[in-house]
Amino acid sequence: MSILSSSSSFLKYKIKEDLQANSSTLSIDQIRTSLKKNRFPDIINSETSEMTAGWTTLESPFDPDFETDPLTYGKYIIFSLRMDKKVIPKKIVEKELAIETKKILKEGQRDFISKKEKSTIKEDIILKLSLIIPSTPDIYNVVWIPETGEILFFSLSKAVNEVFENLFRTSFSKPVIRIFPYTKIFFSKNVKDADKDKFYNIKPYTLQD
């Protein structure tokens, strides 16, 4: 698991509803129910799904049991986002396209295939390959800190962050706000409002003489 690996990358979110309350307003049972409802599906529709995402548990990411698997570790609630993605190697598509194009030309005794026809052939090949190539699973750990209403998320990939943010909002009816320079100051309790206003008005300076 990435959280315990020797090298971890992570970012922080603040849960929007918890900004004022400064604590989680959901009980662990409610969290467990919401996770279960939006769990990673047992069966993936391989024909239509390029990417499938859902929650899973920390200790059994590929066979979770939301009734019995632990979610609380000390004062933290820890679970994971599972994302399975179809990765169809470009070179396999190119190879199949070359074979199919040659076959069509030979069978139809033609010497030309239009760009549009080639594109349709390529789409068919990708669809056919997606049925036989399994999805690649990835697991990203989530640490929910109820006493501060913060979340540590263990991926810096923009695409993965977007999936996490959307799934979290769907599951818990609470948006998460990413922490970066502006939000760090905006939410800080140690910075006075007058100083926040000064920060909002700063402009880049130059070190060049």
């Binding site: 315990l4 990358s9 570790y73 990413r178 502006y182 939000t183 140690n190 000064k198 070190l207």
Partner: protein, 180 residues
Amino acid sequence: MLDIAVAYNKYKFSGYEFLTWLWFKTETDFGYIKDKTEILEDIYIDDKITIENFNENSREKITIKGDQANLEEGIISLSKGAFVTELKISLRTSEEKEFKFTLKGESLDIASFNIKKYKFSDSPDEIEGSLIEKIYYIEQLTTIVDKLFQAYINVRISDSFESYEIVQIKRWIKERSGNN
């Protein structure tokens, strides 16, 4: 509150400025940094810096890997108007733990966080203890970064920023590049 995507882009420069200032401060005034963070015993720039120059017409990016001597190239880039966009940092806490990590300027996200000579067990009997301990160190690190960023912002919005701090940073750049 600004729209998140707008705010991210509008203020990412403050993260670049912060990393540049942090490099300057670690080399010139460690006592100041130690005072602001309380649990910091030592901090230094490790073996990797990414520097970018955001000119009006072009964007130049250089990544410098190597020992301290090779960071001279980075100093020269700063004198040409560039800012640090990623910094690999090593620090030692008052609990004698050595953290290595990369701090991203635009987001202040932390990448490749590693604790020297430390391994967390994921065996079922020890997993809870390991998780609590790892999160403890992560929170320690994020607190240090938050305090340093806040210290920078306090300096940045002060009346003497332009007349004193920028002058000091420029002087450091000149001295480091042997151009004094």
